[in-house]
Symmetry: C2
Subunit: 362 residues, 2 copies
């Protein structure tokens, strides 16, 4: 089986640029939407979801976490997708820059600050103050321009709990049918809860027909990560860089953001994700992207079915699926000449190291 | 006349790596040492010196300032050396990342934060808490590693008012004879004042023989910028990048920092500065570097003698001389194939634009 499957368009230009080396940017943020019980499994308890992006970023750069004592993992051993990202980064030797779009918990690592703020619960209808949105957009675009001057291939990943819910709200506000197409980190996608939350957000934001300004949509019912990734991508692609949006259905929201802000750059944009995400029958990334813009979508064929640990095998059962840029950075590792089995070998040994560090060998 | 003069060692490896493209990192910080009247001209009044690094960084990235209404310039029109740096960046199309090592005023741009703090007045003998020093060192080294994975040629510049005074204190604390060898942004170097300040700092820090630990020396009488540049350089050079320290006698302090922390990497380090700095007869960069380590030192032969404005001609009279990486980034522009006259052409037109924006045509 091919290590990378192309679902839409032609990803060869991106793959070729990635094969010469790339820069990975992880954009982190939080919203109080993730505090709604049951909306996300990215955190053992709702209030702990605010630690997850910082912990993911620390694990990615350091191989260990500082804001929490252990690496993000469910009690029964299902690890954060940052495990996959870190393995692909180790293989390729790529540089990593972490960007704070607005995270309530700040990681203890060097981090690029866009002067954003955490988002409120979108049910308030006032997610982020408009002046903050404008500032983050401008700072993100300037950063993107400068990153493009350093590297012509940029991968951007995300870590924001409940990000599929805020992305659904953003997409609906911009006039796209995202109601039943967003993925989830859980095999039992809490779609009804998400829909209830988004409906309440739209009502309280007074949105009853599609908005035209994506900055307005972010400010009312979006999140800081869609905004920052959109801004960085626009800045970087205007300078001629190829940007691979590394993520699942949240990246459809980024795509819509870009299309409505500055659609001329879409020819430099592609989406890279995992097999697990594309196979999610409770979601429809491909359909969403088709509705928004003609950009390539590819997925990496990682397969944890033969992994000797249940925590990893769980990925085949639909747990986690994607996040922290796992799919896109894996695709980059493939384009740099590494095989799926090399990548899975590093993932396995890093996972075993994590288990040892936790004093746990289940 | 050669556009670049080599004063010590062989800079050809650095020039060759720079010719393929480079990344410029500006490290900013402040200390309350700059509030001592007469110690620096980097700010119209002592309390305004805290705005200068932020304003320099904003001008570099945006071409205009946000924290203050105008670009740093003396009332009679002598501009910040960021004018030179920005011109060289525009020519070469290099990417710029700004790093906050500990600045009291934060620029309104995307900025990489190392979780540092502004330094106190070094006369207290307790410049920066040791726990903060350790954190900045670790974060700076991680950043340097990641930057080296993105670019094999890195130029690092500084903006910190009164930085030559804190660098003098640091060098003396580490056992080097820096007493009469530090440069100044003023043609009338306030050497006696600097020496008085450093003596008081050493006394209050209880330093009466050379220290061996540069982190301890930074903590007692150093500044956040020496620390951060040293850390980034160590992280980057360990990954095989060539680092050009872009600055004057402050970079001798960085060199001493690196030598006493991790001297194996010195073969990847060089210093790049301006003709004006090397010609400063009140200072002795070359003698200082000779005493510390065998690293190449080169200067760029910019000449503002024929500029049609007094504010620019003042550079020939010993005003400003260096800062914000001006010399090193100019050397990189030369190695990228641009001529001195091309560079000076951009500097002149940017200066005229600044004057117009100030409604001033003197």
């Amino acid at each position: 089986m091919d290590p990378v499957i192309v679902h839409l368009g032609d990803i060869s230009q991106h793959m070729q640029q990635l094969s010469k080396g790339f820069l990975f940017t992880l954009v982190i943020g939080t919203t109080d939407t993730s505090l709604i019980p049951g909306i996300t499994i990215a955190g053992a308890k709702p209030e702990l979801t605010h630690y997850t992006p910082a912990a993911d970023a620390e694990y990615l750069l350091l191989g260990r976490c500082r804001v929490i004592p252990i690496v993000p993992m469910t009690p029964d051993g299902k690890p954060t997708p940052a495990l996959i990202t870190r393995a692909a980064i180790k293989l390729t030797g790529a540089g990593v820059l972490v960007v704070n779009a607005g995270a309530r918990v700040r990681p203890n690592i060097p981090i690029i600050d866009l002067q954003g703020e955490p988002g409120r619960d979108i049910r308030t209808g006032l997610a982020i103050n408009r002046s903050v949105v404008d500032r983050v957009f401008e700072n993100g675009a300037i950063l993107g321009e400068n990153l493009a001057r350093i590297s012509k291939a940029i991968i951007i990943g995300e870590s924001i709990p409940a990000g599929t819910t805020t992305a659904m709200a953003f997409l609906v506000a911009m006039g796209y049918d995202a109601w039943n197409r967003m993925s989830s980190a859980s095999p039992i996608n809490p779609r009804d809860l998400k829909i209830t939350v988004v409906r309440e957000a739209l009502k309280n934001a007074g949105i009853n027909r599609p908005l035209e300004d994506p900055l307005e949509a972010v400010s009312r019912i979006g999140d800081p990560v869609i905004l920052a990734i959109g801004a960085i991508t626009i800045g970087a692609t205007k300078q001629g860089a190829k940007v691979l949006l590394a993520g699942g259905t949240q990246m459809a929201a980024v795509l819509a953001f870009i299309k409505h802000m500055y659609k001329d750059v879409l020819s430099n944009v592609a989406i890279g994700t995992t097999k697990w995400l594309v196979n999610d029958r409770t979601a429809d990334l491909i359909g969403l992207v088709r509705e928004i813009a003609h950009v390539p979508v590819a997925s990496v064929n990682l397969d944890f079915g033969n992994m000797p640990y249940e925590g990893l095998k769980a990925y085949e059962g639909g747990f986690v699926k994607e996040g922290v840029g796992a799919g896109g950075v894996s695709i980059a590792a493939i384009s740099r000449g590494y095989s799926i089995s090399q990548l899975q070998g590093v993932i396995l040994s890093d996972y075993e190291e994590l288990l040892r560090s936790m004093g746990n060998t289940t």
